[in-house]
Assembly symmetry: C2
Homo-oligomer: 650 residues x 2
């Protein structure tokens, strides 16, 4: 029911299929209170383009007039809305009023009976001030009820809410258990009190703990999150759905929502917004309206702003710029900055979902940018995959204009004519061998000239580690002509020819596919094609056969089938392989994409965007293609493409 369409790390664009049509996530479901409609569902659909909303089945059930209408004509008729209707269960009312007057099975049956598209179980709201023991009990009860609830879902999709209070371990455990049950959506519950008190760091921990425990193919709904300020970070951490009662609640308090915070109408000098409401209405006109009219207008504005932010987030996912968006938006409140900072604890987990490369550049937004998985991945791969060349000398350069090999070409030529040298740049990302200068994210990054001192220190540490682990016989920093004179005196013997193209092929192969991949260059006669017009490495032939093409935008190889044949020998199974059943492998060999549901195994090192080898049950090569998912995702998604086939025998 849930299909991955595009992604940027855990942030993803998916399609959720319901009985009332498909919705694209991330999505915001406005909350409709059937007793008090600030904006009617019909207006939401017609004026705001809302395709899905959420209402409260408990309120409907407790209000006789609503109950009988809903039971007779269904919840869609009750609301006069033909889009997707999700229903909540009364858990939040339990949180507010202490208890609710309904059995957990009954409320699920009721939701199914009124034709809700997505119902929700009656879980136990775990309060932030619960002790661990209280939380454990509440979570156990939630799981027990969840188990009993799935039997009654019928045709309805069912949301199994993850509880566990502020204890990440409990959240992860709860998520893991609920993943085993027949649920279609997983709300993360109990976060409203945390949202209200700006406890965003804890929310970030809770979301990530829940994600770790969850089946990655299930949509995640951050229950009660309805302020655009929190959407970008929540999406970055893998949330797909939101719901907002705030748009109306804030409107009643005459508060205008913006992606950068909330303002009282009375404090504004200009609406400074060009949503359809604000571009047609002045502050003065708003003030002259009746309270009810004004509330409605502000509510519309608030929804417009929320929905615009969701659309901006989608754009950022398509662009590969979700980190940049989150880091910019985190300036809306210092508590968001705190939440951004705790993400470094989760770097290894986030890295597993991080795309191999992006269309857009890496933009530095602050010291936090150094904790993005892109940075740690480059460094980790450099230290574990890059093979130090056996030259007599290492010459280091300071950060320079990119691509480095072009800026420093004169220096490199002069030195390599005299001595047997390798070259490295001490860059933002740490040590960058000159031959990796076009490999993502090195050339595709924009960093300030003056870095924050804390980042400078961290770079220095990486360079020190480099000095310790990659000891060279002789290492010097380039200081102009003097360095050349010094080298000529110190280093004797004939220099090896410095062939940056060959070095580049080997280094990129190892960095991209894993240590040892570069050995395929020893298997035959290598011919590297560098069109003089661009001066950029384009194609690689071995023994006359085209095996690799280098992509200009990320400096990584597109693998040809013949290249994969060589790579199969250099990298023993299961490395860089996606294994499928035999029939889909057969289809792949004819050019059909590989669907996730057919994948039986996948290398843990594969990342979204990687060029991978599709193999059958016997491990024989069927095709090569681009992975859209990592292992965890391929093994759990029931819909959608896991590998887009790029080259195949037929």
């Amino acid at each position: 029911m849930f299909e991955l369409k595009d992604r940027d790390g855990l942030a993803r664009i998916c399609e959720l299929t319901t009985r009332h049509g498909k919705i694209t996530t991330p999505v915001l479901l406005p909350v409709v209170n059937p007793n008090q409609m600030t904006i009617t569902p019909r207006e939401m659909r017609e004026v705001l383009g809302v395709k899905a909303l959420i209402t409260n089945s408990y309120i409907i059930r407790e209000t006789p007039a609503l109950k009988s209408k809903a039971e007779k004509d269904g919840v869609h008729a009750l609301l006069d809305f033909d889009g997707v209707v999700m229903t909540d269960s009364g858990t939040f009312q339990g949180h507010v009023y202490g208890d609710v007057n309904v059995d957990h099975r009954e409320i699920v049956k009721f939701q199914a009976s009124i034709g809700s598209d997505i119902g929700t179980i009656l879980d136990v709201f775990s309060e932030p001030d619960f002790t661990r023991e209280e939380c454990e009990r509440a979570t156990e009860e939630t799981i027990r009820r969840a188990r009993e609830s799935t039997e009654h879902k019928g045709q309805m999709l069912l949301a199994g809410t993850i509880q566990g209070g502020v204890y990440p371990n409990l959240r992860e455990k709860c998520a893991r258990e609920l993943s085993q049950l027949n649920f279609d959506v997983h709300p993360i519950g109990g976060v409203v009190p945390l949202l209200e008190s700006y406890r965003y760091s804890e929310i970030a921990d809770i979301i990530l703990a829940s994600k770790r425990g969850l089946d990655p193919s299930r949509p995640v709904h951050l229950f009660g999150a309805g302020h655009p300020m929190v959407f970008p970070m929540a999406v970055l951490l893998g949330c797909d759905m939101f719901d907002s009662a705030s748009y109306a609640k804030y409107a009643r308090e005459e508060r205008m929502m913006y992606s950068t915070g909330t303002r009282f109408l009375r404090d504004l000098h200009d609406l400074a917004c060009h949503c359809p409401v604000c571009s047609k209405t002045s502050i003065k006109e708003l003030e002259q309206m009746t309270k009810a009219e004004r509330t409605k207008k502000i509510a519309e504005h608030n929804l417009h702003v929320c929905m615009r932010e969701i659309n901006g987030i989608k754009n950022a996912i398509h662009e590969g710029a979700i980190w940049e968006l989150v880091e910019m938006r985190a300036r809306a409140h210092p508590a968001l900055l705190d939440a951004l900072k705790i993400l470094k604890k989760h770097k290894e987990y986030l890295e597993r979902y991080e795309p191999a490369s992006r269309n857009g550049a890496f933009f530095y937004c602050g010291p936090e940018s150094y904790d993005r998985p892109t940075v740690s991945r480059y460094q980790e791969r450099y230290f574990t995959r890059y093979r130090k060349p056996r030259t007599k000398v290492l010459v280091g350069f300071e950060e320079a204009t990119k691509p480095y090999s072009r800026t420093l070409s004169n220096e490199i030529r002069s030195i390599s004519q005299k001595v047997d040298a390798s070259f490295i740049v001490s860059s933002f990302f740490g040590p960058v061998p000159i031959e990796l200068d076009e490999y993502y994210p090195i050339a595709q990054s924009v960093v300030p000239k003056e870095l924050d001192s804390s980042v400078k220190e961290r770079i220095n540490k990486v360079m020190e580690k480099h000095a310790h682990t990659h000891g060279y016989p002789l290492a010097v920093m380039w200081e102009g002509r003097e360095t050349l004179d010094f080298l000529e005196e110190m280093v004797t013997g004939t220099p090896h020819p410095f062939d940056i193209d060959l070095l580049r092929c080997r280094a990129v192969l190892d960095m991209q596919f894993g240590m040892g991949a570069g050995d395929i260059l020893d298997s035959g006669n290598v011919h590297i094609i560098v069109p003089p017009r661009t001066g950029k490495l384009r194609n690689v032939k071995i023994d006359g056969v085209h095996v690799l093409s280098m992509r200009a935008h990320d400096g990584r190889f597109t693998l040809k089938l013949d290249g994969a044949r060589l790579l199969m020998k250099a990298l023993p199974a299961p490395r860089m392989r996606v294994k499928t059943e035999d029939e889909p492998a057969e289809f792949a060999s004819k050019g059909t994409n590989v669907f996730a549901k057919f994948v039986t195994e996948c290398d843990t090192d594969i990342r979204p965007g990687d060029d991978v080898m599709v193999v059958n049950t016997r491990g024989e090569l069927a095709a090569v293609g681009r992975a859209l998912m990592n292992r965890e995702e391929m093994l759990s998604f029931k819909r959608g493409v896991a590998v887009r086939v790029k080259d195949s025998p037929d």
Copy 2:
């Protein structure tokens, strides 16, 4: 012709009066090319609400049909626009084509003759790659032409463009010389090539150098800056006017402007914008239009986005949140972050314009926030104005929930019952005596729990300086009960009663009005009123007379006339005084605000928002009020209020 209405540091909201009405700055003037109107001026007015635009008098003069129409009916008729029309002179054409075919006096006369509201001199575009000598010659020539041009302005306002290339000294010198001449607006010229290559740090230096040289009462126009990305920082640095040809130029390239950058239409998945164009048009519809229609729609979008950003900037000025806006927007490009970083060089200059306090809180946005003038001002005043109490012990606390005196009240009570102690918090802003905990910006600040390590180091340095300069007989860090036991053993003698309210009065008086102001509390019987409901210091009476009220929102005093009488004795002239001619002083004593044009002298220590004493030529107190300007501004503005009178004899 130019009146200050509101401000946040150098960022200001002003009113510029022209023959075609008043415009509120900051303002963006769309560029209209009379030969190629992507959007007609009438549409700009009617659809976009544009009140002022800029066109090129050189192009009009060189195009016979346009010239004769403009000479006959005027430039407003030519453009079919009844708002404010500014005209440019051909300088930019000189930059592009190498030379222009007109005399500098002729083009000014021509602009006046066609009825331009604001004409521009034909200055010499100083290119970024000019040597210092070339730049000096070009600047000299600009000044020479400027001098000759003013004679021909007639009824027209005239813009005298500041040149000086990338040399701040030349910019400042040029600005200083042009300030002496009869100009009404000062464009900063020659920055387009810098804008195009993201050299924002240099632009920041150039703007500030120009501002230093300029008469502060003249509006500043950043010539050719038309991207919303740069507006916030330019306004922060004191720019009032912008012009944009980019909205149309980018549209022709199918590029959509956003406050966070520019995107090609083809790269967008969603317009993610709710401007009147985007909320009515889908990407698909845009793509299906003719090139001309599409260009027009994108141009409209671009203008909407620019104008919305200007409105958002105005809101931020009203709110006192311009730094927060700039620091957030600086995440749009690392080069903007670089520009933000160089502002620390200009901290002293910026501090002179920085308001005494704000309505809004100080929000931390990143390590750069520590370089805001608010931070350095607090520290500077603490070290020069705060008088160390003569207690036997100083007890230090770590950062705590604000206000500190409430959070730490139990500890303070326990200690002060036993020993003669003062109390200090090691806060984000450095050392905060407990009695200053409600003084702006201490209580009115929101900082993350985890600070960047570079900021932590800077705080440590301030605390070390405190230890050196404010040595106490005994200083301890609070570590709970142990500290109390230790103090009881070490310190003998009867403790003085710890009277936080009296300490607060003295400390705030010194911090706010200057060292010595606190002595007024020794002049009689002090009665401090703290309503039990709020627990916050409210009023101060001396010998039964109400002299001071404390404002809840910034913890600073509102000065009553009777308080000022005491302060006059404690602080010798000219401290905290604004001197006016006798007649306006007489009016002030009857409650009339003091206009800037009547101010003859002003204390250099007065900052916008300060409570000041208005005195006549003999230095006699006429009234007390709130300064809206600093000394430089009071002495240069010809219009507008300098001091809003708050208390006066009549």
